[in-house]
C-alpha cells in the first residue's frame, strides 16, 4: 500500500512531456523560439496568447504533426526524432482534438472511433466496437453512434472527436481551441466533457481562451507571445494579477 502510493507519487512527478530549447521555423519566420515546457502526469495546462503567437504550432510539435528544427521533445520517455517508429510510438500515446473536428465524414460515429484502435492497436472489430460504445457513452453521445458526422451538430461532432481520441487510450490529450469553431450554445457541452476528462485524471494541454474552464481545471496557465513563453502561473494568479505587460494587454482584450 505504502509502496503503491510511493510509485504513484513518483509517476506523478515524472514529466510525461519534456520540451527543451524547442525551435520551429517556417522558412525564415521563427514561429517558436527556445521553448521550454514540461508537463507532469495528471497535470492540466492551459495555453493562451494572442493569435499567431505559436500555440498551435507548439502542441502540433508534441505529436510531430509539425517537425521541429532544434531542441528536444521527449514524450513518455521517447524522444521525437525523424524515425517513424519513434513518431508513431509517441502518437499512439498522444490524443489530439482539433478546432475543426476533422472527423472522417465517410465513416459513422462509431466507426470513426473504431478505426485507429483496430488498425493501430490491433483490436478486433468486436473489441474496438465495445470500447467505442463505452467511450461514446461517457461523452453521452452513444445514441448517435450509427449516424454520420455530417448529421450531427458542431458540439456533438467535437464530442465524437474527443471520443475518437480517447478510444486509443492515450496518456495525454492535446486540445487546439476545441470550442472556438462552435456556436456559443454548444460550447458548454464540449467544455463539460473536457472538465469530466480532467476530473478523471487525464493529462491535458489545452489551447483555449475559455477562462472559466481554465480557472476550473488548469494547474498552470502558460501565456505565449511571438513564439515564446512569456509567463507561467496558476490560473488565479494569472487572471487576477498577470506579471507581464503583454499578458495584461492580452487579458484586457479577451475580456471584452
Amino acid at each position: 500500500m505504502v509502496q503503491e502510493i510511493a510509485v504513484n507519487e513518483m509517476s506523478r512527478c515524472q514529466a510525461i512531456v519534456a520540451v527543451e530549447g524547442l525551435v520551429k521555423r517556417f522558412g525564415h519566420f521563427t514561429a517558436l523560439n527556445d521553448i521550454n515546457l514540461s508537463v507532469t502526469t495528471g497535470e492540466k495546462i492551459v495555453l493562451c496568447g494572442p493569435s499567431g503567437s505559436g500555440k498551435s504550432t507548439l502542441i502540433r510539435c508534441i505529436n510531430h504533426i509539425e517537425k521541429h528544427d532544434a531542441g528536444r521533445i521527449v514524450v513518455d520517455g521517447v524522444e521525437l526524432t525523424d524515425r517513424m517508429a519513434d513518431i508513431n510510438s509517441v502518437r499512439r500515446e498522444v490524443g489530439m482534438v482539433f478546432q475543426s473536428f476533422n472527423l472522417f465524414p465517410h465513416l459513422s460515429v462509431v466507426e470513426n472511433c473504431m478505426l485507429a484502435p483496430m488498425k493501430v492497436r490491433g483490436l478486433s472489430r468486436a473489441e474496438a466496437h465495445e470500447r467505442a460504445i463505452g467511450v461514446l457513452r461517457k461523452v453521452r453521445i452513444h445514441d448517435q453512434a450509427t449516424k454520420y458526422p455530417g448529421q450531427l451538430s458542431g458540439g456533438q461532432q467535437q464530442r465524437v472527436a474527443i471520443a475518437r481520441a480517447l478510444c486509443m487510450q492515450p496518456k495525454i490529450m492535446l486540445f487546439d481551441e476545441p470550442t472556438s469553431a462552435l456556436d456559443p450554445e454548444m460550447v458548454k457541452e464540449v467544455l463539460d466533457t473536457m472538465v469530466e476528462l480532467a476530473r478523471d485524471g487525464m493529462t491535458m494541454v489545452c489551447v483555449t481562451h475559455e477562462m472559466g474552464f481554465a480557472r476550473e481545471i488548469a494547474d498552470r496557465v502558460v501565456f505565449m507571445d511571438r513564439g515564446a513563453i512569456v509567463e507561467e502561473a496558476d490560473p488565479e494568479t494569472f487572471f487576477r494579477a498577470p506579471s507581464t505587460e503583454r499578458a495584461r494587454d492580452f487579458l484586457g482584450q479577451i475580456i471584452h
Binding site: 510531430h64 454520420y148 455530417g150 450531427l152
Partner: protein, 231 residues
C-alpha cells in the same frame, strides 16, 4: 420507301446480343483495369515519386491528347513489337485483336480515371491527413481507410460519367475488326439492307443503357450532396 419491319430485329437479336455482351465486357474490364491502374498512377504523382511520377505524368498527358482510335492503332502494332523485345528474340509476338482491345482500353481509361482521382486527392482537406497522423495511422492505412474512400465517393459521379463515355467508345473496336453492338448491327445492316431498323435498335439500346447510368450519376450526386451538406 419500304415501311419499317422490326421482325428482322428479332431474327438478328442473338447476334446483336453477342455484340452488346462484348461491349459490356470491354467496358467492365477497362473500368476495373483503368480504376486500379489509374489509382496507382494518381498516387505515384501525388507522392511525387522520383522519375516514375514524372514518367506517369508524361504518359497521361500523351494519352489524353490523342484520340482513342489512334491509340488503338498504335497498340495493335506496338504491343507485339514490345512483347517481342521483352521475349528477347526481337520478333513481334501478335496478341490478337481482342487482347489489344482489352489492354488498350484499360490503359487508355487509366489515364482519364487517374486525372479524376489526382484532382480528388488534392481536394481532400488537410485536416483529414492530420487527424490520421494524430491517431498514428500508417500512411498505407491513411490512404486505404480514410483518404481514398473519400476521394472515390466525391469523384464517383465523374467516374461514372467517364465510364458512360467509355461504353460508347467501345464501338471504336471496329478498326480492329472486332464486333461490338454497333459493329454487329452494321454488319447485319449490310447483309439484309435494313439500315434504318438496325441503327434504330442500336440507338435505343445505347440510350437505355446510358440513360440508366446517368440516372445513377444523378443519384450519386444527390446522395453525396446530402452526406456532405453540413460539413
Amino acid at each position: 420507301m419500304n415501311s419499317l419491319d422490326f421482325s428482322i430485329v428479332l431474327q438478328a437479336w442473338p447476334y446483336l446480343w453477342s455484340g452488346l455482351l462484348f461491349s459490356l465486357a470491354l467496358t467492365a474490364v477497362a473500368f476495373v483495369v483503368g480504376m486500379i491502374l489509374g489509382t496507382c498512377f494518381a498516387l505515384l504523382q501525388h507522392f511525387e515519386v522520383p522519375v516514375i511520377g514524372k514518367v506517369v505524368r508524361g504518359y497521361i498527358a500523351l494519352i489524353r491528347s490523342i484520340p482513342l482510335i489512334l491509340v488503338l492503332f498504335w497498340f495493335f502494332f506496338l504491343v507485339p513489337i514490345v512483347l517481342g523485345h521483352l521475349a528477347g528474340n526481337g520478333r513481334p509476338i501478335p496478341i490478337g485483336a481482342t487482347w489489344t482491345a482489352f489492354i488498350t482500353f484499360g490503359l487508355f481509361e487509366a489515364a482519364y480515371y487517374s486525372e479524376i482521382i489526382r484532382v480528388g486527392l488534392r481536394a481532400v482537406n488537410r485536416g483529414q491527413f492530420e487527424a490520421c497522423q494524430a491517431l498514428a495511422l500508417s500512411t498505407f492505412e491513411t490512404y486505404r481507410s480514410v483518404i481514398l474512400p473519400q476521394v472515390l465517393r466525391v469523384a464517383s459521379p465523374i467516374i461514372l460519367s467517364q465510364t458512360i463515355i467509355l461504353f460508347q467508345d467501345t464501338s471504336l473496336v471496329y478498326v480492329l475488326s472486332l464486333t461490338d453492338l454497333l459493329g454487329a448491327a452494321s454488319k447485319l445492316a449490310q447483309l439484309n439492307g435494313r439500315l434504318v431498323e438496325m441503327y434504330l435498335v442500336v440507338v435505343v439500346v445505347y440510350l437505355a443503357i446510358s440513360s440508366a447510368a446517368s440516372q445513377g450519376v444523378a443519384l450519386l450526386r444527390k446522395r453525396y450532396a446530402i452526406a456532405g451538406a453540413r460539413r
